[in-house]
Symmetry: C2
Subunit: 405 residues, 2 copies
């Protein structure tokens, strides 16, 4: 009698962001119980919606609404979940080193997400809020409310307590100031602060806000935000973030107790620590999403650098692309497991981009159509709900979804 050893391949997924979660759901649907051991590693036992975090950070949505327990979305009979932090990937021995252990893999999916890009400006990590996470959003919110609460208790009122600086007029910075400017009148009322005492600045080094957006939409957004009291400083690099505010390249200082850093992201620092060739933490992936030279390692989401051939520039790291990458990645792993050598090429299908501006306001492009105001806001909420649907079906939409009306 012949004994055949049937070792199931180990698929390890790093990170439970948009990419990791969609890969996990797809794999657990496509693979039978006995085809593979799938393990998902994540720092927290919850998944959260990075693209919604500007809302709890500004205090307009409960942070609970932006996250869900991993076990409530994934079938943990099919996927093993390990709560731990990734320290390093050792591709030579096909191991992942965790803070409290290690894992062997046959196939690895790296969806470790992003970190704040400081562009070398000193003081960002020490004096600015730069963590676009559930913990980070809660801290920004509570910090701002604490400054408002302190103000009236001072014998000599320090107006910088009520000065709020957002560094970066890109997507994240604009969405955050949109929410915050919408909430400021309410904060003023609650803490007995005269409205004119609150100063809001958006400071951007580039020559325009929302680079890449249609100029008409950019103007709409800026007009709207200015009407709510936001002051834009465009073409105005920040030299340093200090304990008391920011110093501009011009030498001027703006005093502020709250500086929120939103100038863009880079990939995970684990990427560089693990010896991959990378640009700002992002690996330029093969058309099938594998890391060059590593046939068993897929890179998805913010850690993947993908060139848009049409304009010869990288695609921006968005949730939309991360989710589409996850679909292709799951299919390609299945193909590899079946011994296939011809994998699917990833091609993003950009359906549109909508930025919320707080309240019932938003701007965006869907297809070739420009959207403003309530219409754009409606579409934005539909996009958010669509993601919940893809991840967890109608039940999750009902539980965490947003009313688009």
């Amino acid at each position: 009698m012949e004994v055949i050893s049937l070792k199931k391949p180990s698929i390890v997924l790093l990170g439970a962001g948009y990419g990791g979660m969609i890969t996990a759901t797809r794999l657990s649907k496509q693979l039978g119980h006995n085809e593979a051991n799938i393990t998902l590693v994540n720092k927290h036992d919850y998944h959260y919606q990075t693209t919604w975090l500007h809302e709890p950070a500004a205090g307009t949505l409960s942070p609970e609404r932006t996250r869900m327990e991993i076990k409530s979305v994934l079938d943990l009979n099919k996927i093993k979940f390990v709560k731990d932090s990734v320290v390093e990937i050792k591709t030579d021995v096909k191991k992942v080193i965790l803070e409290n252990g290690e894992l062997d893999y046959d196939y690895l999916v790296v969806g470790l997400g992003s970190e704040a890009e400081t562009f070398g400006v000193p003081g960002v990590h020490e004096h600015a809020f730069s963590k676009w996470t559930v913990n980070g959003a809660r801290e920004v919110k509570e910090h701002i409310e604490y400054q408002f609460a302190r103000y009236n208790n001072m014998t000599e009122k320090r107006d910088e307590l009520l000065t709020l600086i957002v560094a970066g007029a890109g997507f994240t910075g604009i969405e955050f100031i949109g929410e915050l400017s919408e909430r400021v009148p309410e904060l003023c009322k609650h803490y007995d602060i005269p409205r004119e005492k609150v100063k809001m600045y958006v400071i951007e080094a580039a020559p325009t806000a929302l680079p890449g957006f249609d100029p008409e939409l950019v103007e709409y957004a800026m007009n709207l935000l200015e009407a709510r009291g936001v002051e834009f400083k465009i073409n105005c690099p920040i030299k340093e973030v200090t304990e008391t505010g920011v110093t501009l390249a011009s030498g001027d200082e703006i005093k502020a107790e709250t500086v929120v850093w939103a100038t863009g992201v880079r990939g995970s620092s684990v990427i560089e620590k693990s010896g991959f060739e990378a640009m700002r933490g992002r690996i330029k992936v093969e058309p099938d999403l594998r890391a060059p030279g590593h046939d068993d390692v897929f890179i998805i989401g913010d850690c993947a650098l993908l060139i848009n051939e049409e304009i010869n520039r990288p695609y921006p790291p968005t949730a939309q692309i991360a989710m589409q990458m996850a679909e292709t990645c799951a299919e390609n792993i299945k193909l590899l497991m079946k011994g296939g050598s011809s994998l699917k090429t990833f091609k993003p299908d950009i359906k549109g981009t909508v930025a919320s501006l707080g309240g019932k306001e938003a701007i965006g492009v869907v297809g070739t159509r420009k959207l403003f105001g309530a219409q754009a806001n409606f579409i934005k909420k539909m996009i958010d709900n669509r993601y919940l649907f893809l991840l967890g079906g109608p039940g999750l939409v009902l539980k965490k979804g947003k009313n688009p009306l």
Copy 2:
């Protein structure tokens, strides 16, 4: 034809606390439109319930519920309201100096309330929260929430962010820790903090908590609070409040980011600045509540020192006594105006004392009866509602009252 000059007397009321507000309502009811000019001076255009502030400070009640606009309670056709701060009383020229003006008076009622008593401990004003005001309560609440929000963002977790010290185990300290200990589990849940990381201390220099309370009630309160995780340090004076916590007389240090000072109060500093003979900002008043040697100046509330002859010690400064003083004061002013020389003697009628312990818990004495738990909690809320009724009738109870069930 004879011309008779009818100058109406000016009655000036300083402070819109329990005493000032009740005096104002009584005078406006008892005096006809043309009998006197009544002016109420207060720092804010709202009146607030000092005895409720432990609730918004702990975050269990909206600060809005503890205050009301003065114009919503008083008839400003009958009483002139001046929003200003009192700097000094010049009894020799019968003037009150305000920050932005001055007022002449024929009769003066001083109800300026209290300030924190530090007993000379250094660092209290710099490093502890000691303002038992609406602004102060909001600051304590937001400070605590901010520390909870910061905790999980630290690479090296600093447990002192989650250490909460209440200095003083008297009425205020116990009511505050009661509310806070009730809320801590909820805070832990919201900010993903393990419950055991939160430390709560009540530090008291005297040999007992709640001095003056029945020992059986004190034990009930301490057992209850200890079960919620509060650690008592009785007979344990604080030597100094520092930037990092408190230093005890023993030399030990407890590190804490939050120190709330609740060791009792003294009268307003305006009293001493104005040259009245006073003990810790309190004037030992005549039986008719006038300041000795000043026939036209009444002192009520926390600025009045009144000896309980039975035990030869001062009555504690409570809302109950302030309100009763206000009734007598209003009557005596009316008597004086009518040319009377024999004024009413003030005699407090202590109906009972109930301390809330958070949630549905309280302790107290009403008449000779000791009350615990839900029963005491019921009575406490009835007391709170009764005050609203006295001040503004059933409408105010409906608007700001507490559900006793």
